[in-house]
């Protein structure tokens, strides 16, 4: 039997990540990391924000966002290194760095979000 490639699974993760990142990151980045701290828009209170993040649904959404976005990064960045810098011969380094990084980041995100409850 021919060896099954794991590429389709990685591609599905990349693709799902592309969708959640496209829908959610621009608005979150703009509000949380630019408009609120810089005072362009009045920031929600600390307790209000904490209350929102503590809701299970928020934490599930944030985890999905982190998980898929990180695997989206892993896949795309891997091919950026292959095609942009033409260093495909370093695959044994690049592959674990990208997907391993995404995995570590996802576990970290899960740990942080779980403990916020």
């Amino acid at each position: 039997m021919a060896k099954r490639s794991n590429e389709p699974i990685l591609w599905v993760l990349f693709s799902a990540g592309g969708v959640v990142a496209a829908f959610l990151i621009p608005v979150l980045l703009f509000l949380l990391f630019l408009a609120f701290p810089l005072g362009w828009i009045e920031s929600p209170s600390y307790t209000g924000l904490l209350g929102l993040v503590r809701l299970p649904i928020t934490r599930v959404v944030l985890f999905i966002l982190c998980f898929f976005s990180l695997f989206h990064w892993a896949h795309r960045f891997r091919y950026t290194l292959y095609d942009g810098l033409q260093i495909k011969h370093l695959n044994q380094l690049i592959f674990p760095f990208c997907y391993g990084g995404a995995l570590v980041g996802s576990v970290l995100a899960g740990y942080i979000l779980w403990n916020m409850g």
């Binding site: 990540g17 592309g18 969708v19 990142a21 496209a22 829908f23 959610l24 990151i25 621009p26 608005v27 979150l28 980045l29 703009f30 509000l31 949380l32 990391f33 630019l34 609120f36 701290p37 810089l38 828009i41 920031s43 929600p44 209170s45 600390y46 209000g48 924000l49 904490l50 209350g51 929102l52 993040v53 944030l62 966002l65 982190c66 976005s69 990180l70 989206h72 990064w73 896949h75 795309r76 960045f77 091919y79 950026t80 095609d83 942009g84 810098l85 033409q86 980041g105 970290l108 995100a109 942080i112 979000l113 403990n115 916020m116």
Partner: protein
């Protein structure tokens, strides 16, 4: 050397392959190539956003003082610059992603491919809707 190789396909002596040299900067030459690389690089800013989000959540859960400290960090000019560049790239990612959707989903109705706008349009509307909902939840928090 007595035993001759049975399979000539595996000889160690093969002609040198012809490989055209491609410069590392091949993507600088044409706008469509540059756009491709910019789109690929947007993934770095997606990862940066996740890292920043995790920092924000950590600060948020460790108390008002740490959270205020994180807000101060976000006001650092270098961080503001990085976040402005990130905003450009994640928006670029979103736009190129939605523009790609019609090419990935070639829907045919009555043997004819429906216009790209019929697929990209609802994606843009959904993007606006989702952004509005997220903003509404954050602003009333």
């Amino acid at each position: 050397m007595s035993g001759a190789r049975q399979d000539p396909a595996y000889t160690e002596f093969r002609p040198r392959w012809y490989r055209a040299h491609v410069s590392t900067w091949w993507w600088m030459g044409r706008w469509s190539y540059l756009k491709f690389i910019l789109r690929e690089i947007s993934s770095v800013f997606v990862a940066w956003f996740v890292a920043e989000l995790l920092l924000a959540l950590t600060a948020l859960s460790s108390g008002p003082q740490d959270y205020a400290g994180f807000q101060e960090f976000l006001r650092d000019p270098v961080v503001v610059a990085v976040n402005l560049i990130s905003l450009f790239f994640v928006t670029f990612h979103a736009i190129t992603w939605f523009n790609l959707a019609p090419k990935a989903m070639a829907v045919r109705v009555g043997g004819k491919r429906i216009p790209d706008l019929w697929i990209a349009g609802p994606n843009y509307l959904a993007w606006a809707g989702v952004s509005a909902i997220v903003a509404w939840f954050l602003l009333r928090a």
